[in-house]
Every structure is written in structure tokens, then in C-alpha cells.
């Protein structure tokens, strides 16, 4: 599993990559740039490829064949389901946490 940077689940490299690929296939550099823009998180190249390796192994993303040196990666069906599940869980936890904060 890729090492998670400090900052909570919203900075988990695997979750960020899955979220980035939800917009469509992208290659490594594109994923890195996109994550920087939408999450404000800069993934190091090593962290990025460690996370990509794990996601490919888990079959949550897949490289598109014969695309030269920079292969675009796309979200698989399992990847989309996993992302949806994780985001729903996060939303539920966030919602409960915010509600409890309001009542205290």
C-alpha cells in the first residue's frame, strides 16, 4: 500500500488518483497536475507511481495499451465502485462529525 501523507484520508494518494481518473483517462504527469489543482496536494513522483502500482495490482485502474512511453490510465469498473464506496463512507463520517460539532 502506498504511504499516506499526513493530512487525513483526503490526501490519500490512491483516493486522489482514483478521483482524478474519474474525470477520464490520464497519464502520470496529467494525474499529478490534476491532483495539485483540485486537491492542493503535490504528490512526489515516487509516491505517485507507488500508488499507481498498487492500484493496477488491485485492478482498480488499468493502463491503456500501446500508447507509447506515457500510458494513460483509466478507472476500471471495480475502481469506480471502490471510489464511490470510499467517498460515500467519507461523506457519512463527515456528516456525522459536522452534526456532532453543531450540537456541542
Amino acid at each position: 500500500m502506498a504511504r499516506k501523507p499526513r493530512g487525513g484520508p483526503a490526501t490519500d494518494p490512491e483516493l486522489l488518483i482514483l478521483s482524478s481518473l474519474a474525470a477520464g483517462p490520464q497519464h502520470g504527469y496529467g494525474i499529478m497536475t490534476d491532483i495539485r489543482e483540485f486537491a492542493g496536494v503535490t504528490l512526489g513522483p515516487g509516491t505517485l507511481y507507488t500508488a499507481i502500482t498498487r492500484l493496477v495490482e488491485k485492478q482498480l485502474i488499468a493502463p491503456q495499451a500501446d500508447s507509447g512511453r506515457q500510458r494513460p490510465y483509466k478507472l476500471t469498473r471495480d475502481g469506480a465502485l471502490a471510489l464511490k464506496q470510499q467517498l460515500s463512507d467519507m461523506r457519512r463520517v463527515a456528516s456525522i462529525g459536522l452534526t456532532r460539532l453543531r450540537t456541542t
Binding site: 504511504r3 504527469y29 512526489g44 513522483p45 515516487g46 505517485l48 499507481i52 512511453r69 506515457q70
Partner: protein, 214 residues
């Protein structure tokens, strides 16, 4: 090739060959395109270490080392048992028990010899290393082996030096008899381990890792 290309190439080469075949060219291009500061280098270094620890390459090397250790342990124990006619391990009963006992007593030294013996072969094969595709890990093991072997010899010398007039005499005694045959066996076994561990398509992966000119 510029310094930047050399650094990137060296960084990518830290990953296992199997990994490089799959992701090497992409990572190379990203490293060449982005800022290559100490933070990025440290990040890639850490990632490469993690991939090395997970790689089948390392697991296979450790497995081969373990098998070699057990075989060498039994061989050295057996040769010691024959030489001393079951001597100090007699109470363990039977040649196998004695072999096991004596083997474990002398194993550290011969494990050192096992990898230490690879060094002359590695030096001789040095110019052919790329062509033969011998893994760098084997050379690192050899270095560690030599250090371990020298360390164990030194410990034996400190313990037993009252029996010898000179260090040379001690070395001759150590290597005479079972030592010589074991080191010879270690040389063969060690070389077999190194050669059997070479990646199959290293040459192809090396070409792929070369930075693109675009």
C-alpha cells in the same frame, strides 16, 4: 547525456527490473519534465526502496540464500564430522545429528565464504556483467559476505590465537582440509546462485529506461 539525465537514470535503476519494465519509461519522463530537487530525489529513493522490499527479485534472492545456507550447513557439518570422527558432537548421535551440530557451529564462517567466494568470480566477470545480466544485488551480497567472512575469521583468531604463532599459520590451518573443499563448493554454489538469479530480459529493460530525447 546531461547530469540531469544521469541522475534520473540512476534513480530509475534503483527500482527492481520487473517494475522498471512496466513503469520505468513513464517515471523517467516525469522526472525529466518536473523539478528535480532533493525532495523529489528523496521521494523516489523511498519509493524505490519500498518496491525493492516488495519485489519477487529480493524474495527469490533471500530464498536462494536460505537454501544455500541449509545445504552449506549440512555439507560443512558432514565434512567436519568425517574429519573429527563425530568428535565434539558425538552426543547428538548418528552422522546426521553430528553434521547438523557441527554445521551450525561453523556455518557463519562458511556462509561468509559462500558469498565471499563470489567476489573473485564477480571481478573476473566484471566486464561481462552487463552482457551476462548479473544482478547488482549479488555483488552487494558478495561485499557483505566478504565483510562477514573477515569478521568471523577475526573472531576465531582472537579466540584461538594462543594455538598459533602467526596469523598466516592460522589462515593455513583454517583453509586446509575441510575449509578448502568447502570454499570450493561454495564457489560453485555461489556462482550458480548468482547466474540463476539473473533477470531474463535485462537488456530490453535497460533500453526502455533510457530517457527519451523528446
Amino acid at each position: 547525456m546531461s547530469t540531469r539525465h544521469r541522475i534520473v537514470s540512476a534513480l530509475v535503476r534503483m527500482y527492481p527490473a520487473e517494475w522498471r519494465r512496466e513503469y520505468g519509461p513513464e517515471l523517467t519522463d516525469i522526472l525529466l519534465a518536473g523539478r528535480l530537487g532533493p525532495r523529489a530525489i528523496a521521494n523516489v529513493f523511498g519509493s524505490a526502496c519500498r518496491e525493492r522490499l516488495r519485489s519477487a527479485e529480493l524474495r527469490h534472492l533471500l530464498l536462494r540464500a536460505l537454501v544455500a545456507f541449509i545445504v552449506m550447513e549440512l555439507l560443512t557439518g558432514a565434512s567436519a564430522a568425517i574429519q573429527y570422527e563425530y568428535g565434539p558432537g558425538r552426543e547428538f548421535g548418528g552422522p546426521f545429528g553430528v553434521a547438523l551440530f557441527l554445521g551450525f557451529v561453523t556455518a557463519p564462517m562458511y556462509v561468509g565464504a559462500l558469498f565471499g567466494a563470489i567476489v573473485p568470480v564477480a571481478v573476473l566477470l566484471g566486464p561481462l556483467r552487463r552482457r551476462a545480466g548479473l544482478p547488482v544485488a549479488a555483488f552487494a551480497s558478495a561485499g557483505v559476505g566478504v565483510a562477514a567472512f573477515a569478521g568471523v575469521l577475526l573472531v576465531f583468531w582472537v579466540i584461538d590465537r594462543s594455538h598459533f604463532q602467526t596469523f598466516g599459520q592460522f589462515l593455513v590451518t583454517v583453509f586446509r582440509g575441510q575449509g578448502t573443499s568447502t570454499v570450493l563448493a561454495a564457489l560453485i554454489a555461489g556462482s550458480a546462485i548468482v547466474v540463476s538469479g539473473r533477470p531474463r530480459s535485462r537488456a530490453t529493460s535497460d533500453r526502455q529506461d533510457e530517457p527519451s530525447t523528446v
